[in-house]
Symmetry: C2
């Protein structure tokens, strides 16, 4: 920790810049790269899935009259967009369902800001899949290490940490693709940092996903400016009036410097199996398992008692949600939908499902109470049937946690679930295959072409 | 003052939005509008003067390959630019010499973010001069009232207050021109606020003026998004995790609400006579006056003793500046140049003047010490001549202060000084005349056309 006015802080901005421009494929272990591929596949599914959300439509419509050459793919949309429009749009799309990846140590959603800045540049420069992957890993590293350095104080102040650190990650990834040198990358991080922004107050509005798109767009702008010689402070992160002091009450620069290029935050990324806040995932997971294992039909359930971590009721205690958006803040709806449908994707949080009488009937039989010592990724469930049977289930680690990660098959299923509705079944399958193979691909041209598919009438119906 | 977690704060975001869309020309006193014209003339001179600074060239070059329709004037540059490029460029240009206006209560430079967002929309929509002026006044009001609410705590944390509040002012001005309703303007302020950013660490780099351009660009984007239905929190300013709580340790909402639409912050705007930090203006003013009144040639000066406010030495104590940029942080150079040239515009802070042997000779005869009770806009000067005469001068209020504002003629002279070098003498004079007449003009077309003039060879020489 450093005092507010310490001016002798280590030169972490320069360190991160040097790391950014020097990291090489060979220096990154296979397991790290493998996790980054999982991150990319999961992100692309979310980006395609959200691509036709009204927030994305609005953003692109608002920018259209002022847009530049439409040369950049927005995955999940047929028309291309201009550089900053595409970046903003795919950032919004990939986060709008709150379904993207989570760096559990900081609650950063790492891929969105980084990949959204990176993909358009990769498309333009026909970057190899391998170089793309390294840039993604580097961007995520910069972003998450900054998060580690200031979390939780920074988040507690009210900053949406994905936006505030994402702009650095986006700048770092773009700096690599643009071939910046260490000085330029230092400036890029400074120009990025001085745009760092995003309030948690915006949660529940379109601005939450806007933060991801804006971070991508602003980080990309920072790298483009630095490439041409635009200057900033060389100590944008650690200076007394730089990021770590202005935007946090505590900071630990060791989190930035230690083992940089040796251990990788990308390995700690996780993927949500369910399209809602991570805090109710154990309850959904448990409900899905109890339904499957017991075979008890919803109408034969007398009661379901959940014993949960305190945050579950604090954040998702809505007993009677009326809309899809509200239902994401109801552990009762989420567990009921999970029980009935065996899953909890975007569909299970739709207005239609929320107002379904069977779902409501089961939801009203569910109670939740706080249990001493229950962890955030844990739940205990007791189901009582109408005929008096008692069935218990203990989920020690929710699916999607670091201890029980979503499998590759789980990521694929999620991808298809998200992408099929937008680009059609066939394109979704081909895009998935191509995304898994990203590291060995010559460039991303084919994948991006598939991601622009329009669904066939039969698939859309 | 409100506690950090107070959620019952007054609905100031909605209040500012309602004010933004409802304010009318007739409700604004003549003296307020007159001051706004002075603000505009001063700003336009700065924008033209800085238009060919490398920071502006770099920004436009970096954006060029991705730019949209080049339909928007950047005053002082012949080629037009696209909407966001023009906005960013003129924001940078108008602040890059640190010569623009100052709201002394908050050290906000009000015009930059607001006018830079407003001018392109006014050009597109052929807005009347009168409507332009009202939008400028409204934007400045929103920006400065937010500043009043959080200053000085917000600034002391390390935020560049012109950037952080400017984005709100830009959004407000744009909201008016786009004809948003109260709900949309509320969202626009929210979308703007969640982009609020800019570290004081960046002072001394190109990012300082970038903050102004970015605030303009981001505020404009906020209004364009809100116009199409993009949503944010309706309490972006006052919510526990909104602007006033996240970005400041104190806040006074009365500063936002009280007499809104009755008293106007635009009336409190001031204009720098000298192209440097305001803290050394009294010393330059005094040196100019002593030289003029005494008629003592620089080579006949034995010593000049300045008695100054403590901040002068703290911020501008550089005894031997080597470059133009450094010389802005030297009260010794500034006073010497003021004495010799009778002024202190951009030229007097150029590398050429800083290394001039006559200037250096006089500079080395100048000493400065802190005087008890000397105010920030005050100085006492004692000049001793080689033949032993002693000449005293007391500047109670520096020229450019609220108590001794720069006259209209002073603003005109400053405008011409800045603009002539960029667009030529004739165009500068015509632009000045047109700018003073802005309120009665049908639209800004003619003025903007003049502002794109290329200097004649003879004028450029």
């Amino acid at each position: 920790m450093s005092s507010h006015l310490e001016s002798s802080a280590p030169p972490v901005t320069r360190e991160l810049a040097a790391f950014t421009v020097k990291a090489v494929h060979e220096g990154i272990a296979e397991r790290t790269r493998r996790e980054a591929v999982r991150t990319f596949v999961n992100w692309l599914g979310c980006a395609i899935g959200g691509a036709r959300h009204p927030a994305v439509d609005i953003a692109l419509d608002a920018l259209a009259p002022y847009s530049g050459p439409a040369e950049f793919t927005v995955p999940g949309r047929e028309p291309k967009a201009d550089l900053f429009g595409a970046t903003l749009a795919m950032g919004i799309a990939s986060h709008v369902f709150d379904f993207d990846d989570t760096h559990l140590k900081t609650i950063i959603h790492p891929a969105g800001p980084v990949a959204s800045a990176l993909l358009p540049l990769s498309e333009r420069d026909r970057l190899s899949g391998s170089a793309f992957l390294v840039a993604l890993i580097v961007g995520v590293e910069v972003e998450c290490r900054l998060g580690n350095a200031v979390y939780p104080a920074h988040y507690d102040i009210g900053w949406h940490i994905t936006g505030t650190t994402g702009v650095f990650g986006a700048a770092a990834a773009a700096s690599r693709v643009l071939g910046l040198d260490g000085d330029q990358a230092t400036y890029a991080l400074g120009i990025a940092g001085t745009q760092s922004s995003g309030f948690r107050e915006m949660f529940g509005s379109m601005c939450k996903s806007f933060h991801v798109g804006a971070a991508a767009k602003n980080g990309l702008l920072a790298a483009l400016l630095a490439q041409r010689g635009f200057t900033s402070s060389t100590r944008g992160i650690e200076a007394p009036r730089g990021f770590a002091n202005v935007m946090s009450t505590t900071r630990d620069y060791d989190e930035i410097s230690q083992d940089l290029g040796v251990r990788w935050e990308s390995e700690l990324n996780t993927y949500k199996p369910f399209a809602c806040g991570i805090v109710i995932h154990p309850s959904i997971d448990g409900a899905v398992q109890v339904a499957r294992d017991s075979g008890v039909a919803a109408e034969d359930v007398a009661s379901i008692e959940l014993t949960v971590h305190p945050l579950v009721l604090e954040l998702t205690g809505n007993k009677a949600p009326k809309t899809g958006l509200q239902s994401k803040f109801s552990v009762f709806h989420a567990a009921a939908a999970g029980y009935i449908y065996g899953r909890a994707g975007e569909h299970e949080f739709s207005d239609e499902v929320v107002t379904d009488s069977c779902v409501i009937a089961l939801r009203d039989k569910i109670t939740a109470s706080v249990g001493p010592g229950i962890r955030e990724d844990e739940v205990r469930i007791v189901l009582t049937t109408r005929d008096g049977r008692r069935i218990e289930k203990h989920v020690e680690h929710s699916i999607g946690s670091l201890d029980r990660p979503l499998t590759d098959d789980g990521i694929s299923a999620k991808f298809l679930d998200l992408a099929e509705a937008v680009i059609g079944r066939d394109a979704a399958r081909r895009a998935l295959e191509s995304a898994w193979a990203v590291e060995g691909s010559e460039d991303l041209t084919q994948l991006l072409a598939i991601a622009r598919s329009k669904p066939l009438r039969s698939a859309a119906e």
